[in-house]
Amino acid sequence: MRKKIALPVVAALVAALAGCGHSEGGSTAGPPASGLPSSDQIAAVPMGPLAGAADRTALAQSIRNPYAGNAQAVAAGSRLYIRLNCAGCHAYTGKGNMGPNLTDTYWSYGGLPVDVYKSIADGRAQGMPAWGAALPPQDIWKLVAYIQSLGGMYATDLTPRNPQEKERIAPELRGTPQGAPVAADSPAAGSSSP
């Protein structure tokens, strides 16, 4: 008798605790170091299709946001978006006002995750402040995850013009290849959508 009651009670408790865990939104706790793209990788991506940067697209596409689609990270990104005044310029809907629209597919400085990461971290010339000093990479990637959730960013899985292009990227700069199995302990593992 006792056991019969105890089981659902324990189950409910576990569920409640799990629920609490989710509702508290994201945290600034970082993912394992292997989950984050390295700063060298990010630095190697040029801002636009510059002369001599033929590998840009493949390189930029190879750098994935470790938090993409992670519901908890998206929620944390959304909180940061409001608390750090992003909404003041880009609007609470993300549709832009003082600053550009983040929900459409028009990107002044590139719309791949690493491009948006760099725009946030380095700032841009027409009023976008640089957040690289104030925010750790995890938080910037969470902001990128939130912006990705708005639907306007470029897809990272476009078929490259030349499939060999990816192979030409120096191995140390190559990010997680698309479709490769994600390590179980990386934040993307908890993603609710691919």
């Binding site: 409001i82 608390r83 750090l84 005044n85 909404a87 003041g88 310029c89 609470y92 549709k95 006002n97 003082m98 600053g99 010339a125 027409q126 009023g127 976008m128 402040p129």
Partner: protein
């Protein structure tokens, strides 16, 4: 078939009919001559009238009733056909004494010429006309153009490119606009978005001086139109949404040297409050209220920028202007009255010392700036002639205030509002509706008006012939959620999340005539979008304004009947003005180029919102102007006289 031409001295010469017509006529020259003379008579009469009218510049003889009994001082009494400052006169009437265009013939207004300035964004300025030169200022990058009006199809005499910092584009809250320039002592003076005031030689287009006024990195920009009295030019900053500290400063017209600067927050010393300061209501009396009506230290980023209009009364030597919302826009973070944000100031024009102040919305909770224009007039109230200023506040109340003391004489709402239940005439304070007070994180439905107010910066006009004030107003409400907002220099210090919708009906705007003596609306024209263009009243009893969907309209000043409408390429948020060309014709000019705050409804389901633009449109009766010919115009290089079409041709 017959043409008349006007020479430089204004004498109309009639040309012979073209030869082709003569050859086709039957014989009998006498009869032809007679017919020709009879046929030409009305043209000659019209041409004569055209010449005579501007010379006389007297009031037209059409009778009108002055409904409010208002009288005006039109100092500095610039030449009737010219336009030297954005409001044309110190009293901010935006009234043109020209009356060639009147209620009878306004229907014949046609396009005379256009000018594209090569920029997009919101075009909020009125052109100036000094002598035979027209001056235009564009939104960012704030290019100044001088057009030669004596030439057919006026072309660019010179242009001045100040090259303001592109960083400024990301700091301006509500589009990268410029509200215009002013002419004084042979200079055109205006503000650059990157916090510089610049004076340009009106003849040569060379920079005379440029003064750095504020810090761009802290979010300050400059968009307001400078205002000149004597040898002083008054300028103020923008950035109430970015937590700047607002100010109004006086610069020397000739050197650009700063003479005084009055902050909108801080100690009495900073605000230029001294022994002469006598506000009418006691709650604005006390020491250092610019500090003590804020939580500790918050006045430093307290807003109160002065981003719109200044007016001046030569009799009392006082200037009048308003300050913007307190920062942050979230009221929960700043308990207190938040003086001197959202305040109307009267200051001594020479010293800058405040004479009185009045805060229409104490502890402003909905972004109701008090920056809107103050139109000065003398008005009989309760049988006494009072020196008043008329102010349509963003809080949807129209105030008629004694401009010598700051006492509110008449106050009434001119647009839908539900944030208050009235104004206590004893204290001058509104009775705030507790249900509409925002609290962080809690969504409030249907607050009227929105953060843009019942009327935004778009200036109204007044006519001494009807005694009425005309203005474009907004018919919108908002659902509002406040969010606590940290101060990060150079980013919005804002926190208002909102959606806007029509207050009543499905129109978002209106153009209205207001009786400032009774506080009653006389007539109104409903408009589909927010009416955010300035107004122009003329002695021809025609009032001009534009709409956000690009219609430029002329209405009867007495009845509000729309007499003429013309669709322009983009929306109108500029200010119409009227001038007399070197050819003696009256022209009406308006910028078309949507932008600014008018775009906040652009992404909604309401159809018909225009795309951007940047074109000046100039209208005249029948579209006649220098150089309007059937064939190739002579560019008037001196060899031949420009050819005109006869005025009054059908």
């Amino acid at each position: 078939m017959s043409r008349a031409r006007t020479n430089r001295r204004g004498v109309v010469e009639h040309q012979k009919p073209p030869r082709r017509a003569v050859t086709r006529l039957p014989a009998g020259k006498r009869r032809w001559t007679l017919i020709a003379i009879v046929w030409l008579l009305p043209f000659a009469a019209a041409a004569w009238r055209l010449q005579a009218a501007p010379a006389a510049a007297a009031e037209p003889t059409t009778p009108t009733t002055n409904l409010s009994g208002a009288t005006f001082n039109f100092a500095p009494n610039d030449p009737a056909g010219e336009w030297h400052s954005q409001a044309r006169d110190y009293a901010n009437t935006r009234y043109s004494p020209l009356h060639q265009i009147d209620t009878e013939n306004v229907g014949k207004l046609r396009l005379a010429w256009t000018f594209s300035d090569g920029t997009l964004h919101g075009h909020e300025a009125a052109p100036l006309v000094v002598g035979s030169t027209m001056y235009l200022v564009t939104p960012f990058p704030d290019i100044l153009y001088a057009l030669d009006l004596t030439k057919p199809g006026p072309y660019i005499k010179w242009s001045f490119k100040p090259n303001p910092s592109p960083q400024a584009k990301g700091k301006a809250c509500c589009d990268v606009v410029n509200r215009g320039m002013v002419y004084a002592n042979g200079k055109i003076i205006y503000n650059l978005l990157d916090d510089h005031t610049v004076a340009v030689d009106a003849t040569t287009g060379k920079q005379v001086w440029r003064t750095w006024m504020d810090n761009l990195e802290n979010g300050a920009t400059m968009t307001m139109a400078p205002f000149v009295v004597g040898n002083k030019v008054f300028v103020g900053n923008s950035g109430g949404e970015l937590g700047v500290r607002g100010w109004l400063a006086a610069l020397d017209v000739d050197t650009g040297k700063e003479l005084w600067r009055a902050y909108s927050t801080g100690s009495d010393k900073d605000v230029l409050i001294g022994a002469d300061f006598k506000p009418f209501y006691s709650w604005m009396k006390g020491k250092d209220l610019g500090i003590h009506t804020w939580p500790a230290g918050m006045w430093k980023h307290g807003g109160g920028s002065s981003w719109a209009w200044v007016s001046y009364d030569p009799d009392t030597n006082l200037i009048y202007y308003g300050t913007s919302n307190p920062s942050p826009r979230v009221p929960a973070q700043r308990p207190g009255y938040n003086l001197w944000a959202s305040t109307i100031f009267a200051r001594d024009a020479d010293t800058g010392m405040a004479r009185w102040a009045y805060q229409p919305t104490p502890h402003d909770q909905w972004d109701y700036d008090a920056v809107n224009e103050n139109i000065l007039m003398d008005l009989p109230i309760n049988g006494r002639k009072r020196k008043v200023l008329v102010h349509f506040d963003r809080n949807s109340y129209a105030y008629t205030i004694d401009r010598t003391t700051g006492e509110v004489l008449v106050v009434a709402p001119f647009a839908d509002q539900n944030w208050s239940t009235g104004i206590d005439m004893k204290t001058g304070q509104p009775i705030v509706n507790k249900d509409k007070e925002p609290k962080p994180g809690i969504k409030l439905d249907h607050i009227c008006p929105t953060d843009l107010g019942g009327k935004d910066w778009e200036p109204g006009a007044a006519s001494p012939r009807t005694g009425l004030v005309y203005a474009g107003i907004l018919n919108i409400c908002m659902d509002l959620t406040d969010h606590l907002q940290g101060y990060i220099p150079g980013t919005p210090y804002d926190g208002m999340e909102m959606t806007r919708h029509p207050a009543s009906g499905d129109n978002l705007g209106e153009f209205m005539a207001w009786n400032p003596a009774t506080g009653k609306k006389v007539w109104a024209v409903k408009e589909k979008f927010m009416t955010m263009s300035g107004a122009l009243a003329t002695a021809g009893d025609v009032v001009f304004y534009g709409t956000a969907d690009g219609w430029f309209r002329a209405v009867d000043a007495r009845t509000g009947k729309v007499l003429w409408s013309q669709k322009l390429s983009s929306g109108v948020i500029g200010q119409p003005m009227s001038y007399l060309g070197p050819d003696g014709r009256q022209y009406v000019a308006i910028y078309s180029g949507i932008g600014g705050a008018a775009t906040v409804r652009a992404d909604t389901t309401v159809k018909g919102f225009p795309a951007g633009g940047g074109t000046l449109y100039v209208f005249s009766i029948d579209g006649d102007s220098i150089g309007t010919v059937a064939g190739m115009p002579n560019n008037g290089d001196g060899a031949t006289t420009p050819v005109n079409r006869a005025p009054g041709r059908q």
